[in-house]
């Protein structure tokens, strides 16, 4: 068996044997699907009273995926804990003693945690989509899975969650502390966008489109986003780049420092 496969098996056993990871995954599913359904039900109930502009820009696909905004926090915590829990408990010493080259260890972690968050992300995105459409049905226009752009939008939502997990893993590896890494992620995902919202419109449009949250919002609708935002595929490319930068920074520090 190759080293990478052995280390992936070890990571899989680690992931399954901790209650904290299991609960984070449960939280991910419940918040994303549950809150998404709640928001969809609310939207459906108030549809008849909503403004003309809201009705004109109505995107039933994107609206059914509103839970993602909460799920991304759970998946960020999962990615951070995947590595920082090893530092706080000392497990990292056992892990590195078993894989002293270190790079394969982090790659195995990224594949296992990225893979798990992708699988669960896709599952909950499709479930949320169908729940949302059934709740809108009879109250507001709905979309069908075969409509143009719908599968892309739903699948990219799951992909977005997996990429947030990898960004979190990279940042967690670079910073090594749970609180610091989660603060950094909340800053990038939530605080920065609201800071940008206070900027003058021209400047705001120029920088806001680079925020992961905004890219997710404009990639996960079946309707194409406004012109000053990135299109779905460019957005995906940028998110991949962010994940690669975060993982690269984590790898750089991980292979050089004492554990």
């Amino acid at each position: 068996m190759t080293e990478l496969r052995r280390l992936m098996r070890a990571e899989w056993i680690k992931l399954r044997s901790l209650r904290s990871t299991k609960w984070t995954l449960v939280a991910l599913v419940l918040t994303t699907v549950g809150l998404g359904a709640l928001i969809s039900a609310e939207t459906a109930a108030h549809w008849s009273h909503s403004s003309l502009i809201d009705k004109r820009t109505w995107d039933p696909t994107n609206s059914s995926l509103a839970g993602t905004a909460f799920g991304e926090l759970a998946v960020a915590v999962l990615g951070v804990l995947a590595i920082t829990a090893e530092y706080s408990s000392g497990t990292i010493r056992s892990s590195v003693a078993a894989a002293p080259r270190r790079t394969p260890l982090l790659v195995a972690k990224a594949l296992v945690f990225g893979g798990v968050s992708l699988a669960i992300g896709e599952l909950i995105s499709f479930v949320s989509y169908f729940i949302g459409q059934s709740l809108f049905s009879g109250h507001a226009p709905i979309s069908h899975i075969g409509d143009p752009g719908v599968i892309r939008a739903v699948a990219m939502t799951g992909g977005y969650l997996a990429l947030v997990c990898l960004m979190a893993l990279g940042i967690g590896t670079a910073l090594r502390h749970t609180a610091g890494a989660i603060a950094a992620l909340v800053g990038v995902l939530i605080v920065l966008p609201s800071v940008f919202a206070a900027l003058p419109t021209g400047l705001q449009n120029a920088v806001e489109r680079f925020m992961p949250e905004q890219i997710a919002a404009s990639s996960t609708g079946a309707v194409l986003p406004e012109a000053h935002y990135f299109g779905p595929w460019t957005g995906l490319g940028i998110l991949l780049l962010y994940a690669a930068i975060a993982m690269g920074a984590g790898m750089w520090r991980f292979t050089r420092r004492d554990v």
Binding site: R9, L18, S89, P100, D258
Partner: protein
């Protein structure tokens, strides 16, 4: 079996030299005690052997290879480090299982080790609830998981009861008798002198002594250290004169039963050269304890 070869090993933490140009070899087939006061650099040296810390100079090799170049390192080297290296939320079995998976070792070996260290009944309990002694037993199981030829244990008897201490001693003895390389650290000479065949003593990151245990704990005040280029001939002459002679090094002897003056006269009449003739007022054990005490009082 593999030897551990340390050459000019150096490690700095900021400006402080934790390990200072350390050179020694740990041979297979015997228990080597790694001795020094707390803070002498023992744990750091062990972490450097395992590639957990990066050396600022020199090398630590195991069977001729740097640790990071061992393809499945836990099958060659097993280690129990002083600091905790496991997650409190995982069970003992799961801790061993993921390490086993990383080295392509079957789960059967995991059960075998849980049995060996006496944790079979506690195997599925979370290790967060383990006593210090149970934690050490799990640490020993971790070290032996890959049936390694080299076993490194940092203060393994900490937290063990008398029965546990005896168990560790017998285990280390049998590992060395099987031909394995066993390195055991401690800050207490009395503790390692029972088990170790050979001692490496460091202080402030530097080598102080590297010699057989018998030599270091020979506490007959009144022995004389003799350095001579004709070691064997002088040794025979002294033995014939009724002295007890212990070979210490290629060119030195430890002699008891004769005074330094008598040894000097005897060497002259036998026309043998003597380069050094030092009566030992205190044993090395006393010297070691004094060293430990003086460091403790200054820190």
């Amino acid at each position: 079996m593999d030897a551990i070869e340390i050459q000019h090993l150096t490690k700095k933490f900021g400006d402080k030299l934790a390990v200072d140009d350390l050179t020694f070899t740990v041979q297979p087939g015997r228990v080597t005690g790694f001795l020094g006061p707390n803070g002498a650099g023992k744990s750091t040296t062990m972490r450097l052997m395992l590639g957990l810390d990066r050396a600022d100079g020199g090398t630590a090799r195991i069977g001729g290879l740097a640790y990071r170049d061992l393809p499945m390192p836990l099958r060659r080297v097993g280690a129990l480090l002083e600091a905790k290296a496991l997650h409190p939320g995982r069970s003992a079995r799961e801790h061993l299982r993921y390490l086993a998976a990383s080295q392509d070792i079957g789960d059967g070996r995991v059960d075998e080790l849980l049995e060996l260290v006496g944790l079979a009944d506690a195997a599925d309990r979370r290790v967060g609830g383990f006593s210090l002694g149970m934690g050490q037993r799990l640490g020993v199981a971790t070290a032996l998981l890959g049936d390694p030829g080299v076993v490194i244990l940092d203060e393994p008897v900490n937290g063990l009861d008398i029965e546990g201490v005896r168990w560790i001693r017998e285990l280390l003895r049998s590992l060395a008798d099987e031909g394995r390389t066993v390195l055991l650290s401690s800050h207490l000479l009395a503790e390692v002198s029972v088990t170790a065949d050979h001692l490496v003593v460091i202080q402030q990151g530097r080598l102080v002594a590297d010699c057989p245990t018998g030599q270091l704990i020979n506490d007959d005040a009144g022995t004389v250290l003799v350095v001579t280029p004709q070691r064997d001939r002088l040794g025979d002459a002294l033995t014939q004169a009724g002295a007890a002679v212990e070979v210490c090094d290629v060119d030195s002897l430890v002699v008891s039963g004769l005074t330094a003056a008598q040894i000097g006269d005897l060497a002259l009449s036998a026309r043998l050269a003597v380069h050094e003739l030092t009566p030992r007022q205190t044993s090395l054990e006393e010297a070691f304890l004094e060293l430990t005490e003086s460091l403790r009082s200054t820190s």
